[in-house]
Symmetry: C2
Subunit: 138 residues, 2 copies
């Protein structure tokens, strides 16, 4: 039984062939990818299946969804030990306006935010837009 199969089972997901492949594809990425990107990697699979696969991953804490401000949802595998639910564990994301790639800066945690009275924070999303190291040429 492969590593991926074990991982999926551990998270309470039935390890189908499709899911293993999608997991593998996500693991290959060094950036967060859009559903369309995944779709291009699996021309034979249906978009809906990929959509639901990713959603399932998300619900089970295997993937986190990133809103980088482009209006297109991006997805990335959670790091080992990542706990997306815990606010303190949230990291920031960087979106390159040149190559349009979005990366997780997992080592950069989001600072504590103070809110006005009566406001209750459940989730924090911090996206920095600019030029990534690949594009800035430095």
């Amino acid at each position: 039984m492969s590593d991926i199969t074990t991982t999926l089972k551990t998270k309470g997901i039935r390890p189908t062939a499709m899911r293993s492949l999608v997991y593998q594809e996500l693991a290959k990425q060094d950036t967060a990818v859009a559903l369309t990107d995944i779709e291009l990697a699996f021309t034979k699979a249906d978009r809906t299946t990929l959509y639901r696969t990713v959603k399932t991953f998300e619900e089970n804490g295997i993937v986190h969804q990133i809103d980088d401000g482009t209006g297109i949802s991006k997805y990335a595998l959670c790091e080992p030990g990542c706990n997306c639910e815990i606010e303190n564990d949230l990291h920031l994301h960087f979106h390159c306006s040149n190559c349009d790639k979005t990366v997780c800066l997992t080592e950069h945690k989001i600072p504590q935010i103070s809110l006005p009275d009566g406001y209750v924070a459940e989730d924090v999303n911090l996206v920095v837009k600019g030029i990534c190291s690949d594009c800035s040429g430095s």
Copy 2:
């Protein structure tokens, strides 16, 4: 000549009747609004016109666009003296998952973010999701 007309002219925008009305409508709001909201306020005007009006406002620094993670763009008038372009002037936004309203917390500035080498920041977007004071009942 009305205040609004003057404001528009100062920003280099031709002060048409439509634009003054849209400005007025935005000024009334205490939250950031979606294009659809503006559309509902002006049933006689075309959606495209409103769309382009808001875009014009945005390009000329009268309005800033907010991506609150719902996938729907929200717009809000810039505060007097607001300079959306200057990174230090960026404030955070709060999106209530109960009433679906998005507010600008202009007094809450975004802390300085450190990035890995080679990354150049141009813009920072910080959205906190949770329950707003109206909905939390406190």
